[in-house]
Each structure stands twice: as C-alpha cells, then as structure tokens.
C-alpha cells in the first residue's frame, strides 16, 4: 500500500467523522469530506478498472469531472447508478460501489488477455475486419464486441427517487465558484444585481481548495473564500448553489444546471420529500463564465498504469483530502506550477523526484522551495516509459533535447509507486461553445481559451481565459466584471483582490514526451484513456487520411467518452497538428456540446412522469363513468369511455348489448370531448364559407349542418356539425382530437389572410357538457326532462336545435345524430354535466337506457357509413374520395380552402381510392381493420394492393359483419368481389354501399 493518510491543515475532510463503505464487496473506511476516489486511494486501491478496448489495468488519474478511468457502479437494486466517476462521488456512510469493468474479474480480465494483441487493434480495426468468412458471422462478432464494450449496468428497477425543475430569471449567473467566480459574484451582488452562482462541487473555492499556499489580499486564499461566501450569504440578492453543474448554455443565455440535492446522503437518510436532483433552468441577462481550468497530463509511454495521475490530482488528494498518493513519487512537468505539488508532497513526507522537462527548470524561488522541502530535481529529463503492470513500479527516463522535442540521450531508470505529470492547464471553455462560440488557441497559455472580453451577454473570468497566475486571473476577472456592471449601469464596489505576484519561468511547449522511437514503436502512450486512444493512433488516423480533426475524433474516438475529452482533447489536437504538420490553431477543436458532465434522464424529465407525463383530460361526467364501470380509450389527451362491460362481459358482448339497446330503445353517450368553438361576427357566415367545403349562406338560425374542413391541399382535415345560433353567430364542433388544431387554423387564416372579416372565435370546448341521448326512445326520455321545448317530430326536426331547459337547467338541444337514430345532444354548462347525465339515466331507466362508449359509437356510425376523420381518412382523402361530394359547394363564390387542389390532375383521377362498404362472404368474419385489399386471390408479393379496410365491426343489429374500406376506383366497383388480406389470412368480400342500416334515413328523421 503506497498511498496513506496524512494530516494537512488545509484538508477539507473531517477526521473525526469516519465513514464505512464497501468497494467490490470489501469493507473500507473514509472520512466525511472524502470523495469515493480519495477514500479509495487512501485505502490503497490502485486498480479500478479495465480499459475499453485493450482491457489494460487502470487507476484513478484525476480528481474531478475530468476523470476518464474510475467509472464505478454505485449501489445496487433500484438505487443503482452506472458510470459515476469516483472522483465526483461524495462519500457517505454505507456507500457501496463496484467496478464496472473486468471480465470475469477486475484482476483477471479476458479483454486484458486480448490486449496482448493490441498492436493488431488499431483505431477503426473493426471497420477493417469481421466481414468474413461469411456474412452471417457478423452477428456473432457483434455480440462479442457488445459484451466487451460498455461500463456500468443499466438499472432494471423503477427509480424510487424523484426529480423536479426550477426556473430562474436573474440578472447575472456566475458559473464556477473558484476565486474568480466568487469575486465576480461579489461585485455583482454588491451592485445590487439579482445574482446566482453555481458550482459543481460540494464546496466553493475551486482550485483554492487544492492549493494550500495560495494567498489573496495577504491572507490564506481559503480564508478569503470563506469571507466571500459569508458576504454573499448576507446579501439578499445573491444565491449560491453548491453541487450544481451548469451543463448547457443555450440561446439568449438559457443555462441548464443540475443540482445534486441528496446524492451525498446515505440512502437511508435521504428525505423522500425532497428531490434526488433538481434541474435548474436559468434565464440570465448576463452570464459570467468562471469555470476555471483543468490540468492535463503529458503523453508518454504506459502513462495509463494505475498509480499515474495528474499533478493537480496528487496535490488535491494531499491538500484537500489528506491523502498522499505515494511514498515514492515521480513528478514530471513542463511548467512551474507543478512544483507546488512536488513541494507539498515532499513536505508531507513523500519521497519526491521532480522531473522537469526544461533544462533550466522553474523560477529560482520555486526551485529553492522545492529543494528545501526535500524534492529531488532532475532538469531536462522526461519519462519515456512507465514500468509496472497493475501498478506503477518505476519509470525509464530519457534526456531531452533542450530545443526540439526529441531525445538527446538515455536517462536513468527510477523506481516509484506513483507518477504524476503536468502538461499545463486547459481552460474549461465548454459552455462558451455550446451555442456557436469558438475558443481560440492562445499560444502563450498553451490552451484553447475564451476571449477576455467574452461576447454579447457573456463575460469570461479567470482561468477560463488562460490566466494561470492567480493575480492575473483576479485582475482580469475584476476588469471583465466591472465592464459587465457598466453595461448594467452599475458601478464597481471594491478594489481588485491581490494574489501574490510570482516570478514564473517559461513553459516548455510539449505534449507528447518523446521516447526516442518512432511513433507506434514504443510503449503505448495514451491520449484519451477512456477510449484507449494513443498518440500512435492519432498519427495512424492522419496517415489513413482522416485529416480533419473531426475525422480524427470519429476514427479514434478521441473525446467520445463520458469525460468528453477533458484531459485528452488538447493533447490530441496538438499531436494531430504535429502529424498534419499544421499549427494547432489551424487544426482547431472538435465541437463542444452539452452536457458538460452527464445528466440524469430523470432530472431532464422532472415531473413529466407517470400520471403527469401528459395531461389526462376528463369530462364532467367522469365520476358517472367510473361508477358504471367504464373502460377508457385515449383520444388525444382525453380519456373517453370505451365501453361499459357488465359482469364478465367481453368487449364484443358489451358492445353488442350497447348497440342493440341503442337501436332498439335508448342509449346515452358522453360527447363532451368534441371541440366547440363559438364563431361570431357580421362576417361569420362568410368565414365559414371559406373554411368549410360546403355552403353556409342559407343555414337559418335554429338549424345545424355537417361541415367538412379541407386543408389547402384539398384533403379532409376535420369535420363536425355547426349550428346557426343567429345570423352572425355559430356554434362549431370539431373532432375530439382536432379541437386545438382547428381553433389555431381558424385564427391563422383569419389573422393572416382575411383580417378584414369581422368574426371572432372563442373556444367553448370545456364550457359545454354534451350528453347524447340516442335511440327510438330518446324523445320519450327527453320528454320526461324537458317541458319548454316542443320535441314533436314536426316542430323539432332532424338537424334542428332548440334552446330551453332540461331537468331545470338551461340547455341547447341539438337534434343531430351520429348513429342514424333519432337522437338529441343536450349541451349544458359543464358544471351541470354530471347532474344532467344522472338525470338522463334516471329518466331513461324505464327504457333500459344504456350508457355506451366510443366502441359502440364507432359501430353505430359505421352501420350508417359515417366516417371518422383519422380512421377512415389519413390525410390523403378528398371529399370525393369519401363519396361526400355533396359536402362540397363548388359553386360558392369564394374559392374555399382546398378547392383549387381538388382539380389538379392527380386529384381528379377516377382510380383514386374511394370509400366503399364491404360484406364478407362469410357474415361471421369480422375483417381486420388495416387489412389490405387485393383484386385477385393471389397474394404473392409484390401484390397489387387496391386499398385497405378502415373500419370493421360485428353489427349485432344486422347480425353480420360490416366493413368500410378505401378501394381504388371503388365508386365504380359496387358488386365486385375483392380479397381482403391480413397477416396471411384472406377473406373474399363484396363491394357494397357503405350505408348498411336505414339507407333511407327513416330512423334519424323519426
């Protein structure tokens, strides 16, 4: 065991609060404030996973969201989460985690064996093979590939926790709670702006949490951080959200941020009343990006061995978590900053050798400090190759040429239990780039960075601009924030905080540490750890002409992982640039896309789940339907009674009973879901003439008419009955699913095309409850409820409507029929809907009144050949196709919507599909809705399909089956025999009229 706990004054763990946890079933202990990663390291765990492609042993390499290797499965059962980065999991008591890779086990891994053949598995190797020996072999190969891929396991139980969304509208959103973000928030807060600061970590402070020696305004940086937090806390206009990651930035500064509300708590002590995670949707006038920077490693041979880390990680584990990552540490750097890590580790008792790739090393004061702490300095060297297999055992050094990145000579072989490297910082530019922003290559910072001046609505502050020295990062933050405040017309309160000024020596421009061999000949030097992309792989991609950086990414999978290349991208771009012989700036970056770090699906969904996934709309009669045992059908968002089974009835039994009761006596149906639109104004009639295919000029008050609505393409889009209330006033009904669409349709035509027409549309769908009383006894039922309307056949005719009272309630009664029976639709204020329904039921009792649902409604209307838009039509049917030419007023003066389309060459073809009725030869056979129709019994593919069955039922009234269908040239094929085919079964049927019951209309006119 090489890593060990030390005490550091800077540490953020509470050594008084030990926590027990298990990893791969082994009991371990950590402390409050630990991450799973820091606790694992402290427990001596090095091997944490196997690599994706080669099964190489891997350990923890980073300390935050950049971690590519330590993907673990947290917890089991319903609480399990795959692929969490151990570096971002806060330790809690009782936590259990397992590795996600290694088969059959982490220590004995078959893929690892296959890794022996790694040299034959370059990038894209699967594109080049698995194509033979026979085609059929590929599924087997694929199965193996799939089994070998993937990290954690998807949960298989429903999520026991919940999520919600919270919307914010703020003046300023600050992303990042490091020194710079805190200062920006302080200035915004002091200026009185409504400010929100988010930081992904459990504590604010950013790098200051790791850098024990930093000072601001002459005091320890963390003291300054705590003062800032206290001040922000005291300002009423500032909110600080911890454990909250801004993961996407969208148009007009809409930022999505994920707050982990309870993930840091033991499962047993989570509050079920609080969400597990919360998605914040923040609309900010101005965003300050202070997301900082992430240290990248250098690229060198076997740089993926467990025990290899970034220098920043080593420094963080030490200073923040009180864990020294090794007793015998090698640290390779090309910059000054990493000396601090070496110094701190040495101070804490580790043996540290600092390998500076620069011949002259760091600024004197840093070299002195390091030496004083006991660090051994080796200048002008680099690590060619790491030794050790499942753990670091040492490294082979080479002497570097001081000017070119080549090897000048051999170096010593050193033993070590831990190897750190620093390849400089990479600015966290992601959010800036989510909506078109592009970073630029700043050579002096050796990083892609964002501009100091930000852009419209966005300021950039601190390390994100490539400022690695605290003093200059703060100075830039101060300037950028002041400029932002000026934009708000506010002034800046406070002087720029001062970081210590240091002398710094120049960085060495180095990404890939040379090993003296041609690329691809030496040990694998990894760039992207999660996807096993080595420096040689990038060269190979370029050699094979995958030269665009996007091709390099896609061919090698560079940056494709769950870390999205936070450690690897810049090294990858630099190596590609070298292979291409181009400057890095000309290579550019791949595209930064959300999410900055992964986001739980559940959090994205929020409360749009289960019973609130999508509205369920109910009518006022819902309780009545439930009481009578209705089963429901979803129609659009509405829940409509489907049928009302009694006892053990099947649907067909129930529907037969409902149909017969209605045809023979009386049935009742809830028609409230139909869309209703009040159309009123002097030009209402003209408007209807334009919007409907049929004519409205002569419809008198007191009368109703069925109307067909076409789209401009001439196809039927909706239908319904419209009643004339007064000369300038109509009550329009639409299909249940079409209500909103039709209202918007009317509004758009009126507003955009005919604003001169004086007419207005008001939705009254919810206002009216509609009870349809249907059947020969419907008049008798109504007579019991209604004294002020003359219900006699002569005075209240089919397609009339009357106003009066029903059961003492003001009502509009329409004598319309969707069943071909004598029928009335009672419309009342929906608050009376339940009452009226129950009154009708009571009044109908003596006639055996029978409630029925949509299924019976469908049978009754099909018996009459009435269409249902959306079932008998599919957006390709004209009124003529539906044999409804009678509903087209070709002589109307205004060219109504869709009219012109009806005369196009294709639309007037006589062999279009037209609506017909079908009688099966065997009356017991109920055709399948959706069955295809053939002219001959030969169904050999490709068979010439003639049309299909749109509606098909057993008609209890007729004692046989009936069907509606659309058939090529159907209007001329009456009497033909056709062959109806569905799922291998064929039934002959005869083409007949689609009106099966009461062709003369006697019943509805009764």
């Amino acid at each position: 065991m090489s890593a060990y706990r030390v005490h550091r004054n800077s540490q953020r763990i509470d050594s008084q609060s030990p926590l027990k946890f298990t990893f791969d079933g082994k009991q371990m202990q950590g402390f409050a404030g630990d991450t799973l990663a820091s606790a694992l390291i402290a427990n001596g765990v090095k091997l944490i996973g196997r690599s994706f492609k080669y099964g190489r042993p891997r350990g923890i390499i980073g300390h935050g969201s950049e971690e590519p290797n330590a993907l673990i499965q947290l917890e089991t059962g319903a609480y399990t989460v795959p692929d969490l980065k151990a570096t971002q999991v806060e330790l809690y008591h009782g936590l259990s985690a397992t590795t996600t890779t290694g088969f059959p086990s982490l220590h004995f891994d078959l893929k690892g064996m296959a890794g022996t053949f790694a040299r034959f598995m370059p990038p894209g190797f699967y594109y080049k093979t698995f194509m033979g020996p026979v085609k059929a072999a590929w599924p087997l190969y694929e199965k193996m590939i799939r089994m070998a891929a993937g990290y954690g396991r998807a949960p298989v139980e429903a999520d026991p926790e919940y999520y919600d969304h919270l919307h914010h509208h703020v003046d300023v959103l600050v992303v990042g709670g490091g020194a710079c973000g805190l200062w920006a928030a302080t200035l915004a807060g002091r200026a009185g702006l409504k400010t929100l600061l988010v930081d992904e970590q459990n504590e604010a402070g950013g790098w200051m949490l790791s850098d024990a020696s930093a000072r601001i305004d002459g005091k320890p940086a963390m003291q300054w951080v705590n003062e800032r937090l206290a001040e922000l806390d005291s300002l009423g206009n500032v909110t600080v959200l911890r454990r909250t990651t801004a993961f996407a930035l969208h148009e007009q500064n809409l930022v999505q941020a994920l707050e982990l509300c309870q993930d840091h708590l033991p499962i047993g002590s989570r509050n079920p009343g609080q969400p597990r995670q919360r998605l914040h949707k923040i609309r900010a006038h101005h965003v300050v990006l202070a997301a900082g920077a992430i240290e990248r490693p250098l690229v060198y041979g076997n740089n993926d061995r467990p025990g290899v880390m970034t220098a920043a990680a080593g420094q963080t584990y030490l200073n923040r978590y009180g864990v020294a990552v090794g007793r015998n540490v090698l640290l390779m750097t090309h910059n000054d900053a990493a000396y601090d890590a070496a110094r701190d580790l040495a101070e804490a008792g580790s043996r540290v050798t600092l390998i500076d790739t620069r011949l002259r090393g760091a600024a004197d004061w840093r070299q002195q400090q390091a030496k004083q702490a006991g660090v051994e300095l080796m200048l002008g060297y680099g690590i060619a190759q790491v030794h050790g297999k499942t753990a670091v055992s040492g490294a082979q050094l080479v002497q570097l040429d001081p000017f070119t990145n080549t090897v000048r000579g051999k170096g010593p072989r050193l033993s070590a239990d831990s190897i750190l490297s620093s390849g400089g910082l990479t600015s966290t530019v992601h959010l800036f780039c989510h909506n078109t922003g592009r970073p630029y290559w700043k050579e002096e910072s050796l990083s892609f960075v964002v501009p100091d001046e930000g852009r419209q609505g966005i300021s950039c502050a601190g390390a994100i601009t490539g400022r690695w020295e605290l003093s200059s990062a703060l100075a830039q933050t101060h300037a950028a924030t002041s400029a932002m405040l000026a934009g708000f017309g506010r002034s800046t309160h406070g002087d720029c905080p001062q970081g210590d000024e240091h002398e710094v020596a120049a960085t060495r421009r180095l990404f890939r540490v040379p090993d003296g061999l041609a690329e691809g000949h030496g040990a694998k030097a990894f760039v992207d750890f999660q996807n096993d992309v080595s420096a040689a792989d990038i060269h190979l991609a370029v050699r094979e002409n995958y030269r665009s950086i996007e091709h390099v990414k896609r061919y090698t999978a560079l940056g494709f992982g769950t870390d999205q290349g936070k450690l690897s991208n810049v090294n990858g771009f630099a190596i590609a640039a070298e292979a291409l012989g181009k400057p890095i700036s000309a290579v550019g970056t791949t595209t930064y896309r959300p999410a900055y770090t992964p986001v739980t699906f559940g959090a994205l969904a929020g409360s749009h789940k289960a019973d609130t996934f999508e509205p369920r709309r109910y009518t006022a009669m819902q309780a009545s339907h439930l009481k009578r045992g209705a089963l429901f059908e979803t129609v659009g968002q509405w829940m409509r009674p489907w049928y009302f089974p009694q006892g053990k009835e099947t649907m067909h039994q129930a529907v037969d009973r409902e149909c017969l009761a209605t045809r023979n006596s009386v049935g009742v149906m809830d028609a409230s879901t139909l869309g209703k639109i009040d159309v009123k104004g002097p030009d209402a009639r003209e408007f209807l003439n334009r919007i409907y295919s049929n004519a409205w000029s002569k419809l008198d008050p007191g009368k109703c008419r069925y109307g067909l609505m076409l789209d401009e393409n001439g196809m039927v889009m909706d239908d319904g009955v419209t009643a004339c209330i007064a000369d300038d006033h109509f009550h329009m009904t639409t299909t249940t699913g079409g209500a909103a669409r039709v209202l918007n349709w009317l509004e758009r035509w009126h507003q955009t095309e005919w604003p001169e027409l004086q007419v207005r549309f008001t939705s009254t769908t919810d206002h009216w409850s509609t009870t349809a009383v249907v059947g020969p006894k419907s008049r008798a039922v109504l007579q019991k409820l209604c004294s002020d309307i003359d219900l006699s056949a002569e005075n209240f005719k089919f397609m009339d409507w009357r106003e009066g009272t029903v059961a003492g309630v003001p009502a509009k009664v329409f004598r319309i029929s969707f069943s071909g029976e004598l029928a009335y639709e009672i419309n009342v204020d929906a608050c009376y809907g339940h009452y009226i329904w129950e009154q009708v039921m009571a009044a109908g009792d003596e006639f055996g009144i029978t409630p029925y649902g949509t299924e019976t409604m469908h049978v009754l209307r099909a018996e009459k050949g009435f269409i249902i838009v959306g079932q008998d039509t599919d957006g390709s049917m004209t009124p003529m196709d539906l044999a409804m030419g009678w509903a087209v007023g070709m002589k109307k003066p205004f060219s109504f919507l869709g009219k012109r389309s009806l005369s196009r060459s294709d639309t007037v073809r006589s062999d279009r599909k037209q609506l017909v009725g079908l009688y099966t030869e065997d009356p017991k056979v109920v055709l399948t809705e959706g069955a295809q129709i053939l002219s001959t019994p030969d169904a050999t593919p490709p068979a010439a399909m003639q049309g299909h069955v749109t509606s098909s039922y057993h008609s209890a009234f007729l004692g046989r089956s009936i069907a509606m269908a659309v058939l090529k040239g159907g209007s001329q094929r009456s009497g033909d025999t056709v062959y109806v085919w569905a799922q291998g079964k064929m039934h002959p049927a005869k083409v007949v009229s689609s009106v099966f019951v009461d062709q003369e209309g006697v019943r509805q006119h009764a």
Binding site: E251, Q252, R283, N744, E747, Q751, S895, K899
Partner: protein, 98 residues
C-alpha cells in the same frame, strides 16, 4: 430555446408559450381557379427556407393567440425583432425590394 417578444402582449416570453407558424407573408393567389397547377403547387408547397435573416410567423398559443412576425436569423438564431402582421409587412416589403 428562444425568448420571443409578443407585440400584442407587449411582453417577452419563453418559446414554450408559442407555436411556430411558418414562413411569413405567403400570398394566397387572389383567384385560385385561375392559377395553373404549377402556380398553385408553388403557393402550396414551395418555401424560401432561407439560411440567414428570415421572416417567420409565430402564434402566441398559450397567451393572446395572436399571430405575429419575427425576423430571425436561421443560422445564428439571433432575433432582430418582432412585429404585428400589419406592422411587419412594411418592413418586410422594404427588405424584399432591397
């Protein structure tokens, strides 16, 4: 996700309140019966589909239900402004001429 300004409500609201309503100012032929099949097809289906500054209609479906026009850049997603149908038309015509 856009914030759109509804000139009727005089308020800037989130995209979720609105429905996109297509290219603005497509003129319906005054005499459809006189249009050829090709002209009618053009009116029905052919669209500018501009990459760049584009005049489009939105309807404030969750608010005032009014249709209005927005001038939006379809590649950068910048929004230059929004107007009532009547007000916008003058700007639109001026730009179309230019």
């Amino acid at each position: 996700m856009f914030q759109l300004h509804c000139p009727h409500c005089g308020a800037t609201r989130e995209e979720e309140e609105f429905s996109y309503a297509g290219e603005a100012y497509i003129a319906r032929p005054a005499n459809p019966e006189e249009a050829s099949d090709a002209e009618w097809g053009d009116y029905l289906f052919m669209r500018k589909n501009t990459r760049g500054w584009f005049w489009e209609q939105w309807q404030h479906t969750a608010g005032c239900r009014k249709v209005f026009v927005v001038k939006r850049h379809t590649a950068s997603y910048q929004i230059a402004g929004s107007w009532t149908l009547a007000e916008g038309k003058a700007h639109y015509l001026k730009e179309s001429e230019a």
